[in-house]
């Protein structure tokens, strides 16, 4: 058992990485989509390395004559790897949600007031919350005016009953998540779903506050329709 400990650890880590990247899309809860090929390659390399080192250990002479610090079972600290590996294999942790969104002050990327490229034609136009808020706050060309937009996110609310369609923005991994949100008003805003429920909000931009000022944040959408939906495969937005 001790002899095959390192191989077992490598195989376990490789299997955990492959389980979330190759056999499912769970990796999207933790890292960005672009990392998938690297995760798959790493998982395969780890499994192959585990097999190669198991074979090497079998053929190796039984006497482990080399005197180094941590014995034939490999470095002891490596056993910590079982923790995230088993978590990923047995109970993959959920995507970040309302808890993280409410903890963090919602952030908006600072940018100067200016014109934006034209929105794609056709109504409603599908926008991320990051796109919606930067156009709502910084676009001197007012490209949102008169357009119907569709935003997807989960529900968060203030103590006074105002509610927001919210989405977390992840650049590299879930450790760098920041929050983007838009306040929902209008005819369809009454009877909002429970906190954390995923919704698609269709409506129009409700201008508020001066261009580029703090009063314009968070942006407001007048909702015509609020539809319940399921959590998308990628729960986060990308910058």
């Amino acid at each position: 058992m001790r002899r095959f400990g390192p191989s077992a650890l490598l195989a376990l880590t490789g299997a955990a990485v492959l389980r979330v990247s190759l056999f499912s899309e769970l990796y999207l809860r933790y890292v960005q989509a672009g990392l998938r090929p690297y995760l798959i390659v790493s998982g395969v390399v780890l499994v192959l390395l585990a097999a190669a080192s198991a074979v090497a250990r079998r053929t190796e002479a039984a006497d482990d004559g080399h005197g180094h610090a941590h014995g034939p079972a490999g470095p002891r600290v490596a056993r910590l790897l079982t923790l995230p590996a088993l978590a990923l294999l047995l109970f993959p942790p959920p995507a970040l949600g309302t808890y993280s969104a409410e903890r963090e002050a919602a952030a908006r990327a600072a940018q100067g007031v200016g014109t934006f490229p034209a929105l794609p034609s056709g109504d409603p136009v599908e926008l991320t919350l990051a796109e919606f808020s930067s156009r709502a706050i910084y676009d001197s060309g007012r490209s949102l005016a008169g357009r119907t937009v569709r935003l997807t996110g989960f529900v968060t609310r203030d103590d006074d009953g105002t509610w927001y369609v919210t989405r977390l923005l992840v650049t590299c991994c879930a450790a760098d998540a920041t929050t983007g949100k838009a306040e929902v008003r209008g005819v369809a805003a009454a009877g909002a779903p429970a906190d954390g429920a995923w919704v698609t909000v269709t409506g129009t931009w409700h201008p508020e506050g001066g261009l580029g000022t703090d009063a314009a944040w968070p942006p407001v959408v007048d909702a015509d329709r609020v539809r319940r939906t399921t959590q998308p495969a990628n729960p986060y937005e990308r910058p």
């Binding site: 990392l35 780890l46 390395l49 942790p93 903890r103 991994c173 450790a175 760098d176």
Partner: protein
């Protein structure tokens, strides 16, 4: 006569072996079923009590940091194991200038070639020291590689559109810190602080494919364990320090620079993403955001854990604290000069 006796003995042995296997299977199976029953009945009850949203968020951030780190750690350990197994000592010695004063800037600039975030550079630097490269040069490489490689610089220019001075400032301040730290080590560093990175020296397996596989296995497992430690620390501190606290300090330039430099240590954002996080900290002056991007790839909790594992705790504590001070000073200077 003798043959029949031997056959009977073999049959008895086989029977005994089969019985023993059956016994193990029954006892082991019963134990497994008992454990599975208890866990499946009690598990959800206990888990529901302990699995608050905060704990769930901790697990997500913790696994996210590990998942994000594994590919880069593997890249770093492949490079370090290949250096150890296939590159003879004298080649490395010939590539770098003999005098440490010259070798440090050369090694710092060589950091450009390792595309990846900071997880990759620790095992490579450990391998360089093991192969007889002057520690001062290897440490300059360790600090500069995750900060000035093309992937990171491109990410920075995307995060700060229309502000090439930010990219230039990051390059200058990071390279400056790496070279200064190398020189400081060459002048004041003591070999005794640096526990020589060890690795099992199997008989005759240090070179060639066998040595490569043994080195890769050992380095990955070793560094992987410390990555898990660091990820736990990052998740804990990241959730314990709400970012709203920062709003108090946005006004003062003198406070905001060390504050964001501390935040970089605590958050452990990987160097390919920290520019986007820095860009989102919009209330802070540009110099503070530059300090966030210079300190992040050089000193953070995950890196301190990795360095303590590779070079020893005495080294990691001294090195990380001095690097933090030098990095803050360099980014303040670069910010004053360029931004």
């Amino acid at each position: 006569m003798e043959n029949r006796y031997r056959a009977r003995r073999t049959a008895a042995d086989a029977l005994r072996l089969a019985l023993r296997a059956l016994l193990y299977a029954v006892v082991g199976g019963a134990a497994l079923i008992a454990v599975a029953t208890v866990v499946s009945v009690l598990g959800p009850v206990v888990a529901l009590d302990l699995y608050t949203p905060a704990v769930a968020a901790w697990w997500t951030v913790f696994t996210a940091v590990v998942v994000q780190g594994v590919p880069f750690l593997l890249l770093g350990t492949v490079v370090s194991a290949a250096l150890g197994a296939f590159v003879p000592d004298r080649v490395l010695a010939r590539l770098l200038p003999r005098s440490p004063a010259l070798a440090v800037p050369v090694a710092g600039a060589a950091g450009v070639v390792l595309p990846g975030c900071e997880c990759a550079s620790v095992p490579v630097a450990g391998s360089l020291i093991r192969r007889g490269v002057a520690p001062a040069a290897a440490l300059a490489f360790l600090l500069s590689a995750p900060a000035i490689n093309p992937v990171v610089l491109v990410a920075t220019s995307i995060a700060f559109p229309g502000q090439p001075s930010m990219v230039l400032g990051r390059l200058a301040a990071s390279l400056g810190t790496a070279v200064l730290m190398g020189w400081l080590w060459a002048r004041f560093g003591k070999e005794a602080w640096l526990r020589p990175p060890r690795r099992p020296a199997g008989p005759g397996t240090s070179y060639g494919l066998g040595g490569f596989l043994a080195g890769l296995r050992h380095d990955f497992l070793h560094a992987g364990g410390f990555l898990v430690l660091g990820a736990g620390a990052a998740a804990t501190f990241g959730l314990a320090v709400p970012r709203t606290v920062l709003d108090v300090f946005t006004g003062s330039a003198w406070l905001s620079v060390p504050l964001l430099a501390l935040l970089a240590v605590v958050l452990c954002v990987c160097s390919e993403a920290d520019a986007f996080v820095a860009a989102s900290l919009s209330g802070f002056p540009p110099t503070a955001r530059l300090a966030f991007m210079v300190v992040g790839p050089m000193v953070d909790l995950k890196l301190i854990a990795l360095q303590a594992g590779t070079f020893g705790r005495a080294f990691a504590v001294r090195f990380a604290s001095v690097t933090w001070v030098v990095a803050v000073a360099c980014s303040a200077f670069a910010g004053w000069w360029l931004l």
